[in-house]
């Protein structure tokens, strides 16, 4: 490609919409941006989208009345457009549509609405309950194991303070809580909350200059279950998209389950935590129940989980609160719930009844 000076006359031609200059500009920087993005996002489609978005922003800025503030820094400006990304979520799970009605409104659950709602299956609590029951029958998992997840999570929530559920919970209280969909009792189910959360993901070289300790994304992946539309139709009720995602994220991060110091696990139900610990390879299939016992998942244990109180006790902010908590843990800013010397952490996310994602983060030296 022919080199051109990115000088005032080049910028003026760009601003005036000169086709040749514009094509040169897109070709020249497009290649740079694609190269840069390829190491940061997994799919080429996504890289192409981000590249396009970059040019939209740059052209908007170049052609605005004020123009570029530092025309001599056109190059650095273009390749820095996507250096900071804000990820935010807000939800009115309590004051807005509740979970039982929400599900029926999603087009991807049309089959569930046609075949499952008429026979009385509406809510995730009911749909996940069948898998939990199967796990109990196959492997001897008990409600006592579920209770352990609920009780430990509550204990962590109380340490956090910024939570919906701030009273201690005992195993007895869990067992006495009303049945929602057997085997799930009230305290096996996550909250329906109003709330919001946000994180900023920055390019590593930019983040290094910030005041906060650097927390790096080492590995990230998502996976989808077979028969995404209905849990009931999956060959294995207990195999979610997370299993596929974990197989990719660990090698990407260059770590294994043994290296994880703290894990924030998407806890829509207590059993879902047990299920995911198996899918993530922390224990073998069927051993998730005994695995969570004896303080192993509590602060001070071998694998502290949901140190902020999770969806079960802090609030249901679609799991972005888990990402925030893991970042705080690795920055060593988690207050009373701080896991000592936390270096590597894992966070999982869920969606649409079984899509699974995880990210493995590391505190930079």
């Amino acid at each position: 490609m022919q080199f051109e000076a990115f000088d005032a006359s080049y910028l003026k031609r760009l601003k005036d919409g000169d086709i040749q200059t514009q094509e040169h500009f897109v070709a020249y920087f497009g290649e740079l941006i694609q190269k840069k993005l390829r190491s940061r996002v997994s799919s080429s489609q996504q890289a192409a989208d981000l590249c396009q978005e970059t040019f939209v922003r740059v052209f908007k800025m170049v052609r605005s009345d004020s123009g570029l503030r530092h025309p001599e820094r056109l190059g650095p400006y273009v390749v820095s457009v996507c250096n900071h990304v804000l990820i935010s979520v807000g939800r009115t799970g309590y004051s807005g549509a509740r979970v039982s009605t929400r599900l029926q409104q999603f087009p991807q659950f049309a089959l569930a609405a046609e075949f499952e709602a008429p026979i009385g299956m509406f809510a995730p609590a009911q749909l996940y309950a069948q898998g939990a029951r199967r796990h109990m029958q196959l492997y001897g998992t008990t409600s006592r194991h579920f209770a352990e997840v609920a009780v430990v999570t509550r204990r962590h929530a109380i340490l956090n303070g910024n939570v919906v559920m701030n009273k201690p919970l005992t195993v007895e209280e869990h067992h006495a809580s009303r049945m929602i969909a057997d085997p799930f009792r009230l305290f096996d189910c996550s909250l329906e909350s109003d709330g919001g959360a946000a994180v900023i993901v920055s390019a590593a070289d930019r983040a290094r200059d910030l005041r906060k300790p650097l927390v790096t994304v080492m590995g990230v992946a998502e996976g989808h279950p077979e028969s995404p539309a209905s849990i009931a139709q999956r060959p294995d009720l207990l195999e979610f998209g997370l299993a596929k995602a974990a197989a990719r994220a660990y090698p990407m991060a260059g770590v294994g389950p043994k290296d994880i110091d703290v894990a924030e696990i998407y806890d829509c139900f207590t059993f879902t935590v047990i299920n995911q610990l198996e899918l993530l390879g922390f224990c073998k299939t069927g051993e998730g129940g005994p695995f969570v016992m004896d303080g192993r998942i509590a602060l001070g244990g071998a694998l502290p989980i949901n140190t902020h109180g999770g969806l079960l006790s802090q609030g249901h902010v679609v799991g972005l609160n888990h990402v925030i908590e893991l970042t705080r843990q690795l920055r060593r800013e988690a207050g009373k719930a701080q896991v000592k010397d936390a270096e590597v952490g894992l966070v999982t996310g869920y969606g649409d009844m079984g899509d699974g994602s995880l990210a493995i983060l590391r505190r930079a030296a």
Binding site: Q130, L138, Q233
Partner: protein
């Protein structure tokens, strides 16, 4: 002064699609109709336009046997819908049908305490409106 009597809550009913219409027609006739791929012959449920095995869009419905074994279950106590308030608690069984698909439907006439995986069950038909008949299970 008149008293306003709230309407009785209605059961949520299926809206058949072009793909599922033969299944619901079969239910109404007391026949368990399943979608088979016209190209590779494999059975699938719930009815969908594309075969997940060979991606063919041609399919045909055939009557299938109504026996099966228990794969999983739940007992629904909290009614997430007003109609089911009067029915709770009710068992919903997930059944591996002998025909090779899985069906989710209420299980009647058995106590949940005695249920075991692999238990033999049979699908039956319950007309709930002029157009719609829903499946339910009983012990085989």
């Amino acid at each position: 002064m008149s008293t306003i009597v709230p309407a009785a809550p209605e059961r949520p009913l299926p809206t058949p699609t072009r793909d599922s219409q033969p299944y619901w027609d079969g239910m109404r006739e007391g026949r368990f109709m399943l979608q088979h791929c016209a190209s590779c012959g494999k059975v699938r449920h719930y009815p969908r336009p594309v075969c997940p095995h060979c991606f063919s869009m041609e399919s045909e419905f055939k009557e299938a046997p109504t026996g099966g074994t228990l794969h999983a279950w739940t007992v629904c106590h909290h009614p997430f819908n007003f109609f089911f308030k009067a029915q709770a608690p009710y068992i919903v069984a997930l059944v591996d049908m002998d025909a090779g698909v899985r069906v989710n439907a209420p299980l009647r006439g058995i106590d949940a305490a005695g249920l075991e995986l692999g238990q033999k069950l049979r699908l039956q038909f319950e007309p709930v409106s002029k157009e719609v008949t829903l499946p339910f299970f009983v012990a085989a």
